[in-house]
C-alpha cells in the first residue's frame, strides 16, 4: 500500500465508489476458493503468513488472466485455530459461498474438524502445514502439501547420521506435531545406530527451559534434536547456548521463521532446520515466490507462507486442468498432477500425502541458507491409504 502514488481526493472517491459497486455485483464470473486461517488469537502470526501466501498465489493467477478467463476470488475466514470455529466456517464455505475448492492455512485441530465437511461436500481441500495424520484419512478429497510429522522425524534421524553423530538428546514439544516428530525420529533412530541419551518434553506455553537445559547438559549429548515453534525454539536455543551447551541443534519446520533468528540472536547461528523452503533454491518457482512475496509484504517469506502459497497453487493448477470445475474433476486433476512450487516438486500418493524432498537449512549470518537436501524416496515415503 505504501507504494501507491498520491491521488487527488476526488479520484480516490471515484475509485472507491467503483470498487464498492464491483463488490456489490453478483460474482457470476468468478471462481471461488475458500481459506480458513487463524487471524486472531494465539496462532495469529502463522495465520498472517498463511493469508499473505494464499493472497499472493491468487493475485498472481488473476494478474495472468485468471483460470480460463475467469477471475479467482479468495473467500477468507478466521478460525482462531479452534476446531469449534472451523465447523461453521467450513459449512459456510461449502453451503453459502459455494467454493470449488478450499485451502487450510491453519493448524491441525481446525483442519481436522473442517476436513469431514469438505469431504462430504466433495470439495477438494488442500492442507498447507497442518500435520495431523488423520486429516487425509477423512477421504479422497483431502490433499496435504506438508510432509507428515513422522516423515520429518525420520529425516531428522537421517540428518543426525549424515553429520556423523550418535548420542542424541531429544526435546519434544507437547503437541501433535511434536509427538509425531518424536515418533518418526525414534522409529528411524535404530536404523542409523543412534543412541538417545535423554528425552524431555515441554508444554507449548513454556518459554523458560531452565530445568530441561540443566538436565540435558548433564546428559552430554553430541547433538540435540529439539522440536518446537519459533516462539518456543527461540528462547530454548538461546538458553541452551547460554548454559554452555555447544552440541549442534536440529529443529524443524516450526523454527522456520525470521522471528526465530531475531529471538535467539547470536545463539541461532549454526542451528539446522529440516523444512520445506530452500532460500538458495535455483528453481524458478521458488525464486519468483521469494521475490514477489517480499515485494507484496515487505518481509521475507517463511515456511507457513510458502506452504500456503504452494497449497493454493496446487488448487489453482488443478482448476486450470479441470477447466475451472470443482468436485470430482478437480480432485482427479490434483491427484494426477505434478506441481512445481516454492516447497519443491510435489506429487501425491494414494492417500494424497505429498512426496517431496526435505530441505535442510542452516542459520548463517542471521539468515537461513541451504545446508543440504535429503532426497530419499524410501525413507521419506509417506504412509499410503490403509486397506479398509
Amino acid at each position: 500500500m505504501k507504494q501507491l502514488p498520491r491521488r487527488r481526493p476526488l479520484t480516490t472517491l471515484v475509485a472507491a465508489l467503483g470498487l464498492s459497486a464491483a463488490v456489490a455485483l453478483p460474482a457470476y464470473a468468478e471462481i471461488r476458493i475458500g481459506l480458513n486461517v487463524p487471524l486472531t488469537g494465539f496462532a495469529a502470526v502463522d495465520g498472517k503468513s498463511a493469508l499473505e501466501g494464499a493472497k499472493l498465489a491468487v493475485a498472481q493467477a488473476n494478474a495472468a488472466g485468471g483460470v480460463h478467463g475467469e477471475k479467482l476470488e479468495l473467500v477468507i475466514y478466521d478460525d482462531q485455530a479452534a476446531p469449534k470455529e472451523a465447523v461453521p466456517i467450513a459449512t459456510k464455505l461449502v453451503a453459502k459461498d459455494e467454493v470449488v475448492g478450499a485451502v487450510s492455512g491453519s493448524y491441525s485441530g481446525p483442519t481436522r474438524a473442517a476436513a469431514g465437511i469438505f469431504q462430504r461436500a466433495k470439495v477438494p481441500y488442500v492442507v498447507a502445514y497442518a500435520v495431523h495424520p488423520e486429516i487425509t484419512l477423512a477421504g479422497d478429497y483431502m490433499f496435504r502439501v506438508a510432509s507428515m510429522g513422522e516423515v520429518q522425524g525420520r529425516a531428522g534421524a537421517r540428518l543426525v547420521a549424515d553429520l556423523g553423530k550418535k548420542k542424541v538428546g531429544l526435546i519434544t514439544v507437547k503437541s501433535d506435531f511434536g509427538q509425531a516428530l518424536a515418533a518418526g525420529f525414534k522409529e528411524a533412530a535404530p536404523k542409523f545406530g543412534l543412541d538417545i541419551v535423554g528425552e524431555y518434553e515441554y508444554a507449548l506455553q513454556d518459554r523458560q527451559f531452565g530445568a530441561v537445559v540443566s538436565t540435558i547438559k548433564a546428559a552430554k549429548p553430541e547433538i540435540i534434536y529439539a522440536s518446537g515453534y519459533y516462539f518456543t525454539a527461540g528462547p530454548l536455543v538461546a538458553q541452551l547456548r547460554a548454559a554452555g551447551v555447544t552440541a549442534p541443534i536440529i529443529g524443524q519446520e516450526g523454527y522456520d521463521s525470521e522471528k526465530f533468528i531475531e529471538i535467539a540472536g547470536d545463539a541461532a547461528e549454526g542451528t539446522l532446520v529440516t523444512t520445506s523452503l530452500d532460500r538458495d533454491s535455483e528453481s524458478p518457482a521458488t525464486k519468483v515466490f521469494l521475490a514477489d512475496y517480499r515485494k507484496a509484504t515487505g518481509a521475507g517469506a517463511d515456511m507457513v507462507a510458502a506452504s500456503t502459497y504452494a497449497a493454493t497453487r496446487v488448487l489453482i493448477e488443478g482448476l486450470e486442468k479441470s477447466g475451472g470445475k470443482g468436485g470430482e474433476a478437480l480432485k482427479s486433476a490434483i491427484a494426477a498432477g505434478t506441481f512445481d512450487t516454492p516447497i519443491g516438486r510435489l506429487s501425491f500418493n494414494d492417500l494424497h500425502e505429498v512426496r517431496k524432498d526435505i530441505q535442510v537449512q542452516v542459520v548463517r549470518d542471521k539468515t537461513f541458507r541451504r545446508h543440504s537436501v535429503i532426497s530419499d524416496p524410501v525413507l521419506l515415503a509417506p504412509p499410503g491409504r490403509p486397506a479398509s
Partner: protein, 286 residues
C-alpha cells in the same frame, strides 16, 4: 440451509452447556472455573464407546453418568473449600484433566479422536435432537428452580451458614447440584463430539471453561432465559463477527467487560431494568 443448521446446532449445544453450569454456579452459588472438564468427559466417553461399536443413543446416558460421577467427586472439594478457593480448585481440576488427556495414548493423546460420527441421524435430525435436549434441560432447570431443591440451592447460594443452622443438609445439596450440573455438561459434551466429529485436549481447556462461565454471568447468574439468550448470542458471535476480521476477539473481550461494567446483572438485569424502569441498580462500594 446447511450453514444455518450447523450454526443452530452449535448454539444449541452451547446453551445446554451454559445451563448446566448455571445450575451449579447460578442456582447453588458454587463457582466453577473448570466446567469444560465435564464437557470433555462426556465427549471422550461417547467418542470412545462409539468407536467400540456402541450405538450413539446408548452412549449418551453413559457420558452423563461418568461426567456426573466425577462431578460429584469434584463437588466434594466444594465441601472443603469455598468461594475463591473453590474457583481456583476447579480451575486446577481443568488443567489436570487436560494434562492427563494429553499424555494418554488410548485417549488419543495430543492427536485427539477423529472420525467420530455415526449418530445415525441426518444433520437436521441431529439439530432437532440438540434443540430438544436443550429445551428439556431448560424445562428441567425451571422445574428445579421452583422446587424445594431449588429453594435450598438458592439458600445455599445466599447464605450457606444460615442454611446449616436451619438444619439443612448443605453438603448433600451441594453434591446434588454438582452431580446434576456436570452430568448435563456430559450430555452437552456427547452432542459436541458428534457435531464436531473431532475432539482433542485443547477443546476442553481453561479457555472453554472461562467462555462458558462468561455466558452464564453475561446472561445473568441464575436466570434461565438470560443464560439461554447469552449463550446463544456469545456462541454465534465469532461467526457473525467475521466481517470485523482482525478486531473480533478485541470486540468480544470488550463487550464482556462493558456488559459487566455497566450491567452487572447481565442480560437478565438489563431486561428487568427495561421492564421496571423505576428500579435502579444498586450503587456504592462494598
Amino acid at each position: 440451509m446447511d450453514y444455518e443448521i450447523s450454526l443452530l446446532t452449535t448454539m444449541s449445544i452451547s446453551v445446554l452447556f451454559a445451563l448446566s453450569l448455571n445450575l451449579i454456579t447460578g442456582f447453588c452459588g458454587q463457582i466453577s472455573l473448570g466446567h469444560a472438564t465435564f464437557l470433555g468427559i462426556g465427549a471422550y466417553v461417547t467418542a470412545l464407546l462409539g468407536k467400540a461399536g456402541l450405538p450413539f443413543l446408548a452412549t449418551l446416558p453413559l457420558s452423563m453418568l461418568l461426567a456426573g460421577a466425577i462431578g460429584a467427586v469434584v463437588g466434594l472439594a466444594s465441601l472443603r473449600v469455598r468461594a475463591d478457593f473453590l474457583a481456583v480448585t476447579t480451575m486446577g481440576v481443568g488443567f489436570l484433566f487436560v494434562g492427563i488427556i494429553r499424555q494418554q495414548d488410548w485417549l488419543g493423546g495430543e492427536l485427539g479422536i477423529s472420525g467420530i460420527g455415526g449418530s445415525g441421524l441426518s444433520k437436521t435430525g441431529f439439530m432437532l435432537l440438540a434443540l430438544l435436549s436443550t429445551a428439556a434441560v431448560a424445562a428441567l432447570c425451571l422445574y428445579i428452580r421452583a422446587s424445594w431443591m431449588g429453594r435450598v440451592f438458592n439458600g445455599v447460594a445466599e447464605d450457606e451458614d444460615t442454611m446449616r443452622v436451619l438444619g439443612i443438609d448443605v453438603p448433600r445439596y451441594k453434591l446434588a447440584a454438582f452431580a446434576i450440573g456436570t452430568a448435563l455438561a456430559g450430555l452437552a459434551g456427547a452432542l459436541y463430539a458428534h457435531h464436531l466429529q473431532f475432539i482433542g485436549p485443547d477443546s476442553f481447556g481453561f479457555v472453554e471453561s472461562v467462555t462458558v462461565l462468561s455466558m452464564v454471568v453475561v446472561g445473568g447468574i441464575g436466570s434461565v432465559p438470560g443464560v439461554v439468550i447469552a449463550a446463544a448470542l456469545l456462541s454465534a458471535l465469532p461467526a457473525w463477527f467475521q466481517f470485523i476480521g482482525d478486531y473480533k476477539l478485541l470486540v468480544y473481550g470488550g463487550l464482556l467487560f462493558l456488559m459487566m461494567r455497566f450491567s452487572p446483572g447481565g442480560m437478565a438485569g438489563l431486561m428487568s431494568r427495561f421492564f421496571n424502569p423505576v428500579q435502579t441498580s444498586a450503587k456504592g462500594e462494598r
